[in-house]
């Protein structure tokens, strides 16, 4: 337990790494936990603790972005599913054509995962998974 305003200010600065929405929901609470766990007389956040906050903030940002893009994809599924399916088919056809003409290099291998990603996005929207 610790009540040093200086330490609190430093913790707050670390919490700024989180997305604003997450901070609004959990900021005060995380701060209480950090201050409760701090040693008496401690003035700086411990290194491992700071690293953990930054790691968690990065993870939260990535996850939020991932979630919002899937939500967008799902909301626009009427347009996106046909686009995804056609793009996937086109990429597969393109790969076949390139190899058919004997110009399929190692980079053509990238087309198949891209096609698979399009099909997966369509499949995911159809399965109502957001």
């Amino acid at each position: 337990m610790n009540d040093d305003p200086e330490l609190e200010r430093r913790y707050r600065r670390l919490l700024a790494a989180y997305p604003a929405a997450f901070r609004r929901e959990y900021g005060q609470e995380i701060l209480s936990v950090l201050m409760a766990g701090a040693e008496q007389g401690q003035r700086w956040p411990r290194l491992a603790e700071a690293a953990d906050l930054l790691r968690s903030a990065t993870l939260t940002r990535l996850r939020t972005r991932w979630r919002t893009s899937w939500a967008w994809e799902y909301r626009h599924r009427r347009v996106m599913v046909p686009i995804r399916v056609l793009s996937g088919i086109w990429l597969v056809a393109l790969t076949a054509i390139l190899y058919g003409y004997g110009v399929g290099g190692w980079w053509a291998v990238l087309l198949v995962p891209a096609a698979a990603a399009h099909f997966y996005a369509a499949y995911r929207s159809l399965r109502r998974r957001v």
């Binding site: 959990y26 995380i30 209480s32 936990v33 950090l34 906050l53 790691r55 968690s56 996850r63």
Partner: protein, 104 residues
């Protein structure tokens, strides 16, 4: 299920707790082996809330600091029970195969 998640759910299985309470309880449950850090704890809590395994029980202000208590939902109880049964089944097999060495 990750070990940290399992331990958090186990801490909440005994009743609602706030963030720092979960940290000290997990330390006790794991025999001082796992000390959750604040960042890890809240990434996990947020995910568990979104997935519907836990929910907010109540909020209190103690010494001008916010304390939010979490509790398991029915889904959370089911998930924890299933995971505990799975771990137990594995542990029983491991111990029986090790014979007298494992029974120490």
């Amino acid at each position: 299920m990750q070990e940290a998640t399992f331990l958090i759910l186990t801490a909440l299985a005994g009743g609602s707790q706030h963030g720092y309470g979960i940290i000290t309880d997990v330390e006790r449950i794991s025999d001082q082996r796992v000390r959750l850090r604040a960042g890890t704890l809240y990434t996990a809590l947020e995910r568990l809330r979104v997935d519907g395994l836990i929910e907010v029980d109540r909020e209190e202000i103690v010494d001008s600091r916010l304390r939010r208590y979490y509790r398991l939902t029915a889904t959370g109880q089911e998930c924890l029970a299933a995971e505990a049964a799975r771990l137990q089944a594995h542990a029983v097999i491991a111990i029986s195969r090790l014979g007298p060495v494992g029974a120490r």
